[in-house]
Subunit: 417 residues, 4 copies
């Protein structure tokens, strides 16, 4: 009876594929080793399509590097360096959207580029990805692939076949696939060096607290160590280029690479970076996702602080809009657009002065800016201080300024009252 | 020699005042009991102007209700209810600007209104306030007063006489004024029920960590209790109307007033709400200020979360701009403008669906959203879940959507490449 | 052979409809009397669906009020008053988007409401409209109907059956329908009291000049009379409430209704209001459309001028954004959204002072503002005039203002240079 | 008695200058040959300051190249090429602000740069300009000079001495200066190759029509020739690089320089480019100004049209904001700011595809786009045409798109109703 069910699924898949995937002989499949990519791969093979699986190292802790049985061939690609370049663009744009850190928006275009490259090298005519019809990943993958490999066909079997998680779980059981279905049952995850994302499962109730077993990068703030820890992050042109901290032997250690990895480790130890957000999907749904992203949250906060020190109020005002448009575009699949490039031209020009260092303190779930310093600071301690300003600044001159500033709006107010 | 110095100051003040304050007989003075208001009052009396001091209860812990010696009369006004109405407007606008909570922007207009009322009642022809020429308070007071009492003259002696803190401290010593100069020497503070602000002193160095003695509302996160605490905040029309929490006897207690006071108390106990921000002043300076505002930070976060649950992506997108304009206008002294009213018309209309409850957890310096619930939620657990969506939503339909969405931008991308 | 073709079309239509329109017994059809609505109606009848045609008077010059042969019943509805209310909302929002006047955006929601009402009254279960899959009208009709009559099914046969104009023209010939196919062949038009729109046909070439026979409301500017003509338009709360002009007997005539109709007549006589615009369609295409809209172009220009007289610079700045969002939302089918209502709340509040009169001159294709006057003007002739300002305004006070304004940005400029 | 008045003015000037201009020995004066610059120069000499006058050729029809009697030295500078570079930046930013073409915003920074250069070359320690305390020119000059020559002092005698036009006119009469006071009495003008500006005088009444004698570049539309004229403007990277038109001998003539001059000439002949606008001044006043700018109005319109052909809807949406911020910044004196540079980085990147040609027709006061063509057009005649699209585009696919697009907002609408 089990196999009957499994055959029914294969039948449905075959019927839809005859219509939509007609003529596809072989495919490159984005392979994470999770439920979706295993089921998709197996079903694609089941309907007679040759599958080449690709595992992409985006900095997640475990990369599935082994060829699965259904695959004709398996390819491993290390995309960490390329992804880090995208992350740095994100930091310059204060990478946030509706409370989260745009992890899917900046990671999927890199994965799409890798898939396109493998497909071209392998002479394959189609690419398959595991995005559903609910989320924005389908746009991020398909808009990127349309640009990067317009000659290739793109399949999204989860969406096109309308696969549900329960039938996928039945399928792996019936097919006796080498897959730990138990662990997967509760929720779905996505992970890269920027953030770990948890969705679905119990989280579909918006009022339900996340459960302890969802968190793998961060300890519960209550379990974090009592002593505070400090780091000093160096920025150049708006990008993190180094970090110093005091190690267990009370020695100051500085390094210039893996700033993000170190912040993830330290932040995780102090219970920093748990985010619970209601996201909007382009198809009109809202979903709830839990993120662990200690490095991301601290880098963006430090970067913002440095911008407030080095950019003028007018610059901050316009950049707030620019950042919002950048993150909106990227969130909805627009990494490979000219608009993103125009926005980056503004951002790059603005970041020429965003350098210096920011000191952060961390303790038991929270972090805070302790101080900041920049050669391009617009902050002059003597000027803003009535005690010491002396000759540099004459506050009496503000009298007429205050009289004229806002004059029109206050006159207008009285007209209508 | 001390008196000589003091006389020199009086001389300078008299000279400037002859020019700028000519003809002023009496004045209503905003009196906080701090250094500036004591020195100003004494100097105004010294040049022959009758002073009526006004203490305004804005929810600060200690209100100076006693007539100071230099005053002809003293008036106490309780403005807490009126201020709470402004705070609620602020919460609906997610009251933040460049990382802080706009405390001066929303409090000064209330104080200006009170001063105008007292001046009219007392038949006085001028109002004096303690704003310097550096900050934005001068605009908030003067723009408000120009609207509320255009017939009155407005004096800002700190700015107009260019008073420096060190000479003020000398003055109170020489005049043997009843004033604890020691405590004041380190920094200057401002306090109301929305936030406590610390500025000047050691803080003028942007890289210097704040010192422990600056904090009065909040404990150090490291000293906060180990156990977590939870509250459930109720909102109606975007405004907090009630709060429930579990008290020390493990009983759930709910109340509908003093939501802010309770959050300030609980948050303070857990070390929540310390903010260190670089602010922009309209005259072109940047200053650094430390805030304690546990209630403000949690109310705004809870409100934002509820908006993400109940407003559409398009509504959130435009409201982000509206909130920014609202806070910018209010920050730069525009409470009493027609523009603020137009923005509030948008905001009020948008808040009709922002109701429900948000549950917050607190622990050792951090707080987080645990869950949320609203009768107007646009979130439907069944729809966003591939496992259960069944008939309600057909993800296959997203295929053509994904094809068309972003089509123009990806075609355009290829044109220029 | 002709009938063979016609039968082939019917066959295609039947096949698609079995899939998509299964179970539909009767339908209310938006009937303009044009090619699309005649062909759709006939085909719907041909596949066995009862058709009730609805002609909606939106102020176009000719309304088809006769029941077509294929219809079971015909209904005429006068929606001019309701449409005028929408137009007034549009004028307050300076109704323009990418160079045109948003005619489809403000007219379709009214038509949708009429169709929904007729369908409910007639007990019909479906509504059919003639929008194609290319333009934004499909969104305007379907988004409106989803809100106004969620229980009804909505059919868009031109899109769903993929009807092409050439096969439609074949069809009417073969079916010997009472329809002047010759005239229709060149281009497609849409008309209401706000604008006449011409599209398709020769216009699909973006470089081709429009031909003379496209214009029906306006004379060629070269053929306009030599003498200038003037009108004075009265506004209240941002809406036109009256108009005065000098008639052929040199008498000043004023009227309070049909302001738009009179401006269309006068403007048309003077060759005003021809617009040639490249529009963006939501599906990612650009199309070219020619508009005739003399009243719209003059009302919006006069309204803008009055806003510049009565609103402050800050208000104009924010309202520019609000207008843009309003027009974008409406252009892409968002009339029946909460967002449009929030924006209208801002707009309505802002228009309380936008009253007074604007005098326009017209001559040979162009019009211009001659002068304007308002009781709420922020313009004071004495203040802005160095010759007469005298005591009212002391320009010397601007010295310190000029020193401080822009100070931060100029300091910042030097830092990076 | 006349001389008494003149002496009184000199007395006032001397008194203020002792205070504000103390120590200034010599000055470079921006010299237009108009009333203000002649009176200022004479008065500066009168109080013992050496004056070097500078005439700057910005493309105005007449440049005063003769040394005036009060000057120690006179310098002529041709800044047309430099100004044209700024104008091209302006065209890329669709150079408009509140209905006018930002002529002062883009011309004053060039003049400031020239003045700074002359001052440095001549070893002079101060620069004087004729801006009043009412307008924004004071900001444009002073913000630019603060950046370009921070070591120089900057004097604005009209503002600082509070000079009124009537006393200036008295002064030139009494001093028997070589100056045609009659012509000047009616209004004040400013002219460069981008626009001619008329202000003050009779124009201070907002309801008064401009008089015929105000116009010097353009004929009255009624007097324009009957026959239409056409031009084809070539753009590269968003900038005009050539123009073709049919000359009097019916020959097509093309040229690549002086596009602006030719458009000014042709437009002037056809009565195009008269603008009547209410402007906002930073000090809170509104003023009314009349512009003649046929070239500017046609170049910006042609550029906008080409952008609508070559940029995507998303790009147009964001660029609208960018252009607005650019023009606002420049209008209020921010040419020499980093913000303007960041905005220009966005703009430059966006203009890489804005090339091709736009054909304009002109006749009796009006002009219109006849057609446009670009190798980077996003417009494909076949795609947007239901008649011919055939296989390239399947409108049936829009069905699901239309269903999902706007879904959230329509669901939301029903929730609150």
């Amino acid at each position: 009876m089990a196999n009957a069910k499994s055959n029914l699924l294969l039948e449905r898949v075959r019927k839809i594929s005859n219509e939509q995937y007609a003529g596809v002989q072989d495919v490159v499949l984005a392979y994470s080793g999770g439920l979706d990519s295993n089921v998709i791969g197996s079903l694609l093979e089941g309907i007679g399509i040759d599958v080449i699986t690709v595992s992409i190292d985006m900095g997640q802790r475990a990369v599935h590097t082994k060829k699965p049985p259904f695959a004709k061939k398996h390819v491993n690609v290390d995309a960490r360096k390329e992804f880090w370049e995208c992350i740095k663009r994100g930091i310059k744009a204060n990478c946030t959207h509706e409370g989260h850190f745009n992890s899917g928006g900046i990671s999927r275009p890199v994965m799409a580029r890798v898939l396109a490259e493998v497909a071209k090298k392998e002479g394959v005519e189609a690419i398959a990805h595991g995005s559903s019809g609910i989320g924005n990943d389908q746009l991020r993958m398909e808009n990127s692939l349309r640009v990067l490999a317009p000659e290739l066909r793109v399949l999204a079997p989860v969406r096109d076949w309308d696969l549900h998680r329960d039938e996928e779980l039945d399928y792996v059981k019936q097919q006796k696939m080498d897959f730990d279905a138990k662990k997967m049952h509760k929720y779905s995850t996505d992970e890269n060096m920027w953030a770990r994302t948890v969705r679905q499962g119990v989280l579909v109730s918006e009022a339900q607290p996340p459960t302890d077993d969802m968190f793998e990068w961060t300890v519960d703030p209550s379990d974090a160590p009592a002593e505070k820890e400090y780091v000093e992050i160096q920025f150049e042109n708006g990008m993190p280029v180094g970090i110093c901290h005091i190690d267990e032997n009370r020695k100051t250690v500085c390094e210039t690479k893996d700033v993000l990895a170190l912040l993830n480790k330290l932040g995780g130890r102090h219970g920093i970076g748990r985010v619970d957000a209601i996201d909007d999907k382009i198809v009109g749904l809202k979903t709830r996702e839990i993120y662990e992203c200690p490095g991301a949250i601290m880098l963006v906060a430090a970067h913002r602080d440095l911008e407030r020190l080095t950019l003028t109020a007018s610059e901050l005002d316009v950049k707030k809009y620019i950042d919002h448009e950048w993150n909106k575009a990227v969130y909805y699949g627009g990494w490979h657009t000219r608009l993103r490039r125009y926005l980056d031209a503004f951002i790059d020009e603005s970041q020429r002065v965003v350098d210096g260092k920011v000191i952060l303190g961390m303790s038991r779930g929270s972090f805070w800016v302790v101080g900041r310093k920049s050669a391009h600071a617009l902050y002059d301690a003597r000027l803003g201080n009535r005690q010491t300003s002396g000759g540099a600044w004459d506050q009496k001159e503000a009298r007429h300024f205050a009289k004229l500033y806002g004059l029109q709006d206050t006159i207008a107010y009285m007209i209508v009252d």
